[in-house]
């Protein structure tokens, strides 16, 4: 069962939201707010990167990881793009990118990967942006063919011009890719594009042109592929059972220390934890669902638990600004004061040591671009009364606010069967009830929610999660009025709440287009403040990520919020 509903901002389409909803049940997390919980279930706030290499680690050996989801297929730019488990297990480990997400001075940043010889040269001339990538001469595919400019050109055109591509954001701005020589690729954008570092490195990876050009890429990749440009290559994908990775001998960077990594699919959470306890698997990356957190709280012997609260996953209450009663700013503001977000976060994630609610719609993964303007909203019943009464509402006989003969009653929609969400809804129901709002719960399926209900605006209040998958701000897909899904814009955008906040479109446009980081940051912070002032919705919490590893695992074990928990698998060892 997918555990959270997720919508990814960069996607600009509801399709992305639903695909992620189905494909993701565990999300990337950063180490920024992380901590390490010991096997007895206690916690501290040490760095989440736990270098356990001091244990008697050695080269060689097999690591077995329990994976709660099996990827549906492995064509990472089309049908199976956005499948986080597939991306973490296979894409990140086997395919090269131009940029990697790394922590620099406490912030997650896209930095040139080992594919590149250095920082690309960026030139803006005549309103067009040119990016020149110099490829490391040592970079080769697993068959010995060089990773070349042709691979950049092939990847860009496959994404820009292909059928059934998951998300063309950014690539649809590419005018041309020139290949003056084998190791130089020059990408020309139609206009300036702020998040250019996410090209060939955000959600997508470079693909080998010499193997795929002129062929059916989907058919060649969907069941796994033998080529690699990363430290690992796929040895075997035994459908329904496991994926096995072995070192790519031709990788030019740091070589893997393990002989083999097996991702064994264990969809049942209870069974996965038992497998860890019995030593059948040595690592888990469980979704922070109620049952998983309960097990962690009880303690898993001989196991380290990395908890990471500073992730790219934001769970929020999404108010439909075009529907009663949330078409009233006063009601939105009163609801924001009625909800005790601290209590919700404590109840959901307290055992993991996570206590602070989110104060911005920009996630910690993109923390440099986030304000904290929502911090003014904390539970305050008196403030609720004041705001509602000032707006002409009065409590009826049952204590519910009413105005012009209409009571402040509404329903909330989320994903049926998601225990964490259902618990959140129950807490909300109680808190809002005490504040004079009557909320009913009407959950549904992912396809219904993201395919129909949210895009069509056929809801009042929603509860779901958005993801920032890499450290580039992307509020425009969620808060720009141009991102309200309509027939006119081809139903693109995930401004499902129909928010129209004066001044925000321009600021978010600057964030998207400017190549000046300082200017982008200033615009983002300003937009964040305007959003908080209008309260179109309410951020609740960033969903923490949890990585559990047996004591027998050595190496710098940590969660990369963009690339997942196995981003540095080549450094892991078995003691």
């Amino acid at each position: 069962m997918p555990d959270f509903l997720l919508a990814r901002r960069r996607g600009h389409t509801a399709l992305i939201a639903a695909l992620l909803a189905v494909g993701v049940s565990a999300c990337g997390g950063s180490s920024g707010g992380g901590g390490t919980v010991n096997g007895a279930g206690g916690g501290d706030n040490a760095s989440s990167t736990s270098d356990t290499s001091a244990s008697s680690a050695a080269r060689g050996g097999t690591l077995v990881v329990g994976a709660e989801q099996e990827p549906d297929c492995a064509d990472w730019i089309a049908v199976c793009a956005g499948n986080i488990w597939g991306s973490y297990m296979m894409q990140t480990t086997t395919l090269p990118t131009a940029f990697d997400t790394r922590e620099v001075d406490g912030s997650w940043t896209l930095v040139p990967s080992e594919v590149l010889a250095g920082e690309p040269e960026v030139v803006v001339r005549g309103g067009k942006q040119t990016i020149t990538y110099e490829i490391d001469p040592r970079a080769v595919w697993s068959d010995g063919e060089p990773i070349s400019s042709a691979d950049f050109a092939y990847t860009a055109t496959q994404i820009r011009d292909g059928e059934g591509i998951f998300d063309k954001t950014g690539y649809d701005q590419i005018e041309k890719v020139e290949t003056p020589d084998e190791k130089t690729a020059v990408v020309t954008m139609r206009s300036t594009y702020g998040p250019w570092r996410a090209l060939f490195g955000g959600s997508y990876s470079l693909l080998p042109a010499h193997l795929l050009r002129g062929k059916d890429r989907n058919a060649l990749m969907k069941d796994g592929y033998s080529f690699s440009g990363g430290p690992w290559k796929i040895e075997k994908w035994q459908k329904g059972n496991s994926v096995t990775l072995v070192p790519n001998d031709r990788y030019w960077g740091a070589k893997p220390k393990l002989d083999k990594v097996v991702f064994q699919f264990i969809p049942d959470t209870a069974a996965a934890f038992q497998a860890l306890k019995s030593g059948q698997v040595q690592s888990l990356y469980p979704s922070p669902q109620v049952d998983a957190i309960s097990q962690i709280k009880n303690g898993i012997p001989n196991t380290r638990v990395e908890v990471d609260a500073a992730t790219g996953n934001l769970e929020a209450l999404w108010m439909n600004n075009a529907r009663f009663p949330f078409d009233s700013k006063a009601v939105r503001e009163a609801v924001a004061y009625a909800v005790d977000r601290e209590a919700i976060v404590e109840r959901l994630y307290g055992p993991l040591g996570v206590e602070d609610p989110a104060q911005s719609f920009v996630t910690p993964l993109v923390g440099a671009f986030a304000g904290s303007d929502f911090s003014r909203f904390s539970a305050d019943p008196a403030k609720v009364d004041e705001i509602m009464e000032a707006d002409g509402w009065a409590r009826d006989g049952s204590g519910i606010w009413a105005k012009d003969g209409r009571a402040a009653e509404f329903s909330i929609v989320s994903l049926a069967g998601n225990k964490r969400r259902e618990l959140t809804e129950q807490i909300l129901q109680q808190q809002l009830g005490e504040a004079g709002f009557k909320m009913t719960i009407a959950n549904t399926t992912p396809a219904e929610l993201f395919g129909k209900v949210a895009p069509s605006g056929d809801y009042q209040l929603g509860l779901w999660t958005l993801i920032d998958q890499y450290p580039e701000p992307s509020l425009s897909a969620t808060f720009s009025s141009r991102s309200i899904p309509t027939e006119a814009n081809g139903n693109s955008g995930i401004n499902f709440m129909r928010a129209r906040i004066p001044g925000v479109d321009e600021l978010l446009g600057t964030v998207d287009r400017s190549t000046d980081q300082a200017q982008r940051r200033a615009a983002s912070l300003e937009a964040d403040a305007l959003i908080a002032a209008d309260v179109p919705s309410l951020p609740i919490a960033t969903v923490p990520n949890v990585l559990m590893t047996s004591d027998s695992i050595g190496g710098p074990v940590s969660i990369n919020p963009s690339e997942g928990p196995w981003w540095n698998l080549e450094e892991w060892t078995r003691g």
């Binding site: 399709l15 306890k277 081809g490």
Partner: protein, 325 residues
């Protein structure tokens, strides 16, 4: 022999309209509850939805769509999964094998044990052994599979490692083989033991009650009394006279339950991470993959009908009183 063949063919002929009706009802029900192009509707390309509707013939009436689908099914074109992009027939083919393995061993073991318990408790009716085994049978019938499965894992796999300090558990519970292993070997048996136990406990419990009742019925019949009066040894009375006649209803219930197992191992397969039919159903249901759901249900329906047919034929073979007509 000829009459048995005629009987079987007649029963088979009767099964055809049942299968067709079942397949139409399944097709109609899935079409009525799932939108085959739901995924595409969420995209920005509005034209893609219409193109897909035309390509798949979704603009036609349900009976027309059904005929198209059935034609494809019969000719081996079961369609493409929207979830994986792969062929549905290969997905179902891959999922069938682990389920068939579980079923084969489960039914074999449960039938053997249940029959033994049934015979013993009938012959020793109202003995201490009868009471103990009957009580255990009721406990087995009422055990929830998911709970029992998790208990087995805890007791037989986790505790030996955690409490006894064993370096590895005596039984595994993830899949049917350790990655890299295959075939019938010790690794397979260590993986098979716990799911098999989970599956067989309920089957054994309920089947043993059927076996006991059937045996009691035959043991109290006139011909058994006659055999005893004629001095036939007790073991021969039970094995040759009573058991043979008790087998007919027992085999019938085993065959009927076996057909249902094709799609009924969802919990066992989920707990033990076995990529069988149950797990395929769950995954397809969650993804709204109608192109897998319809053939999946049809294959399960075919299995149920086939095992019903098998039950009829077995009954006719085992019970001479049944006329083959």
């Amino acid at each position: 022999m000829a009459s048995l063949l005629r009987f079987s063919l007649r029963r088979f002929a009767w099964s055809v309209p049942v299968v067709l009706l079942a397949s139409f009802l399944l097709f109609w029900a899935v079409r009525a509850t799932f939108d085959p192009v739901a995924k595409l509707r969420q995209g920005r390309d509005a034209g893609a939805v219409q193109r897909e509707i035309e390509r798949l013939g979704l603009d036609r009436s349900v009976p027309e769509q059904y005929l198209l689908w059935m034609k494809g099914f019969v000719t081996g074109d079961w369609g493409t999964s929207t979830r994986t992009g792969g062929s549905v027939s290969s997905l179902i083919g891959q999922a069938l094998w682990p389920t068939v393995q579980l079923m084969f061993w489960g039914v074999l073991l449960a039938a053997f044990v249940a029959l033994a318990i049934g015979v013993y408790t009938a012959v020793r009716q109202y003995s201490a052994g009868d009471y103990v085994l009957s009580t255990l049978a009721y406990v087995g019938i009422s055990l929830p599979a998911f709970w029992f499965g998790l208990m087995l894992i805890q007791v037989l796999a986790v505790w030996p490692v955690q409490s006894l300090g064993w370096s590895e558990p005596p039984f595994y519970f993830v899949g049917l083989h350790t990655p890299g292993q295959s075939g019938f070997n010790l690794d397979y048996l260590r993986h098979l033991a716990l799911p098999l136990a989970t599956l067989t406990v309920t089957l054994t419990a309920s089947w043993s009650r059927f076996a006991r009742t059937a045996m009691l019925d035959t043991l109290s019949s006139d011909y058994v009394r006659t055999a005893r009066a004629k001095g036939v040894p007790p073991l021969a009375v039970v094995m040759r006279h009573a058991l043979r006649n008790a087998l007919a209803p027992f085999v019938t219930i085993v065959a009927l339950d076996t057909g249902v197992l094709f799609g009924g191992l969802i919990v066992t397969e989920q707990i033990y991470s076995i990529p069988g039919m149950g797990r395929l159903f769950l995954q397809s249901l969650q993804a709204g993959d109608v192109f897998v759901l319809v053939p999946w249900m049809f294959v399960v329906a075919l299995a149920v009908v086939f095992f019903n047919l098998l039950a009829d034929v077995s009954y006719a073979l085992l019970d001479p009183k049944v006329k083959l007509r």
